[in-house]
Amino acid sequence: MIRRHSIIVAIVSLGLVFASLVIGYTEQQAARPLAESYIRLVPQELGAPNVITGILLTYRAFDTLGEIAVLFMVAASVGLVLGREGPPRGVPSEDRPGEARPSSEIVQTGTQILVPLISIFAAYIIMNGHLTAGGGFQGGAVIASGILLVLLAYPQYQPNLEFLGITESVAGALFVLAGIAGLIVADGFLDNRILPLGQFGAFFSAGAIPVLSALLGIKVGCELSVILERFRP
């Protein structure tokens, strides 16, 4: 009873704090100076129409690199926590009675139709990150959703974890190498001007941003797929 009361008190007091936040909130009428300089500088200096991608992949690309490191650590720790010492997996289901029954034909056919479309959509999101809404993280998550669909429809399917691991490592190493190239050729670590900026708004433009975006998408997609595979019973 005391427990319930203390929960109610905590929620109500936090609600009062939030209510005062909402009452005191006023909508901005114009962009703040930092936002204004980003909106001006990203198209001018980086040649990227999408300001957010310009921030994520050049001005704050070091944060993005740290985030990739976090994802890598999560994939490693999920593997560590869920790694099992029992018999190796991938044994045909006849040897393991009580295994889940195969998915229905509707799910399998739906997967066969949807997975290619999901892959194309992911590639589109990743490669148009500098032009319109999208980018490496979002596209990588879409790739992983396709893998999840395959894992649900075909429980026996074994993704090649070694291939995923190597692809992910190569993409990460290339991302860092592109950053170091920015130190040598352009103005700083992960500067996108190591490649020509090209025509504003064209597909091949904005310097290294599409390349970094593709590497990021590949890396995130592989990492999320490995995490999903680990969660399989």
Binding site: I7, A10, I11, L14, G15, F18, L21, V22, Y25, E27, Q28, Q29, A30, A31, R32, L34, A35, E36, Y38, I39, R40, V42, P43, Q44, P49, N50, V51, I52, I55, L56, R60, D63, T64, E67, V70, L71, V74, S77, V78, V81, L82, L131, T132, A133, G135, F137, Q138, A141, G201, V220, I227, R230, F231
Partner: protein, 119 residues
């Protein structure tokens, strides 16, 4: 006006998530409450970046650079929200992995069964 509605929604989601975490005894429900709290925070971050009558900060034919400075929303909170979503997903994955391990050790997901580290 619209950002105040979004802000209120986000803060309400945070409250609902916290309530769920405090009242439920099932670990999976606690994780869901945590995710709700995280989602509410993302909504709050995006809401405070809104500029009155703003649009997405993507420069194209419909939005020139000079127009964007007065009309586009703040891009910094949006960039932070992308980061926050990825980290939130990562934290959820680790929590679920531990939930699986805890279930294997006690064959239950009720948090009342795990009293070893209780003080």
């Amino acid at each position: 006006m619209i950002s105040r509605i979004v802000l209120t929604t986000g803060l309400l989601l945070v409250l609902i998530g916290l309530w769920g975490m405090l009242t439920h005894r099932n670990i999976l429900r606690i994780i869901i409450g945590f995710s709700l709290m995280g989602t509410g925070t993302h909504i709050v971050i995006v809401a405070i970046g809104y500029v009155a009558n703003g649009t997405a900060p993507i420069i194209d034919r419909a939005l020139s650079v000079s127009e964007a400075i007065s009309r586009a929303v703040d891009p910094v909170p949006s960039a932070l929200a992308v980061t926050a979503i990825v980290i939130g997903m990562a934290v959820t994955a680790v929590m679920l992995a531990y939930a699986i391990r805890l279930y294997e050790s006690k064959k239950t997901l009720s948090i009342d069964a795990f009293t070893e580290s209780k003080w």
